[in-house]
Chain length 260, copies 2
Amino acid sequence: MIWCRFEVDGRVAYGLVDGDRIRELQGDLFGENTISSVSHDLPKTKLLVPVIPKTFFCIGLNYADHVIRRASLLGRPPVFPEKPDIGYRANNALIAHDDDIVKPGDSGEEFQYEGELVAVFGKRAKHVSRDEALDCILGWTIGNDVTERTWQASDRTLWRAKNADTFKPMGPWIVTGLDPSDMTTTVRLNGIVMDEFATGNMIFDVATYVSELTKYVTIEPGDVMWMGTDGLPANMKVGDTVEVEISGIGVLRNRVVAGR
Amino acid sequence: MIWCRFEVDGRVAYGLVDGDRIRELQGDLFGENTISSVSHDLPKTKLLVPVIPKTFFCIGLNYADHVIRRASLLGRPPVFPEKPDIGYRANNALIAHDDDIVKPGDSGEEFQYEGELVAVFGKRAKHVSRDEALDCILGWTIGNDVTERTWQASDRTLWRAKNADTFKPMGPWIVTGLDPSDMTTTVRLNGIVMDEFATGNMIFDVATYVSELTKYVTIEPGDVMWMGTDGLPANMKVGDTVEVEISGIGVLRNRVVAGR
């Protein structure tokens, strides 16, 4: 099933995508709900960020090739994570499919995409075993972990580098029933394939992260966990269009515009 | 004015504290509201975390004495922040005044409090000047940035060290109309004063942080910014009671209990 969040007549609603139609949900996707008889035309509907999480988890380094190639670029030996440490991103940065990524006026040339698989939690849970982990996930969406590399190197935290407004496109929707070990992530810039990798080729897999995270943290319905990127991302310029496609989920597309 | 968030008859509401009474608010503190004729007995009321922020900002190093004494303890020269970088904390970790801090079973002895002033934003804003900055703040509350120092040193991020469940007590309420440059922060452990410092003695003040943050980030009503701590925090043991008092705001009190 494909669940989307959208705006209609000034309201925000969830809906079930059925071909070119959206069947509107009464209630909350993460609470009590029923599918209503109201439906909308998908191509004419403004999709929103599929969920605003209570806590926004993100994995920094989770693919070997990304670790090796970024380290090589910086002239350092690669350092692989020895254990599954979790990071955070900020809700202010979230934008939806087809919204514009705003490149700040004082940002540098190394303004880059990172295509990522996103797990959307559907349950409140703590102390989850690896075997139970995937049962906590309602479905999957796509994230673009937009990064300004100069700020990533110069600032003490990642606040500007990864969390400036519009730096976290997420969408287009949430798809249930998929197997993360059987997906391909493709990143296109202006229609040209820049990266293509096996989404499941992670250093620590989704189940390991859920298990480790919930030793210390209670996850809530609607929380999201971004799973990291592979490869060596390239620069985006104002006017570029970036697409992150993950097989079985869809395409997250955003254009880059100039900001103040 | 003192605004609190509380639970009554299974509902969550905001209220205006008036002596020993809470006058219930109809509507949202951060939206449209009126003070109703319903009131409650403050001492019998369960206070909640005063707000669940959309984004939870936190300043890591913002008092000189804290930087100097922590560096000395670690046998390093002190490194002062050269610019106002912002960090994040996680909503899963928030607990209210009088809730228990749960010390994880595998955490170490260096389990410490950090008493902090918290700014609660009341407006949606971006590109705010230093002069306009304090107008974006609805009021002030208190935070205890509970930290496990072994994990802070060993993990690649601060996720367990500062964001495990219950590690972020915040409260007891939001007080308006205060001047952050004229406050004293006092931390007591089992009634004994451990730290006392001028709350306003920051490396970068609140207005500077708001101005810098909003160059890149849109703040939203209900977002919070924790302003860092001074001094050299001490260890807390299971059974201890920690109180953070800030003059003009009140006392945030929590007990430490043993976790799994």
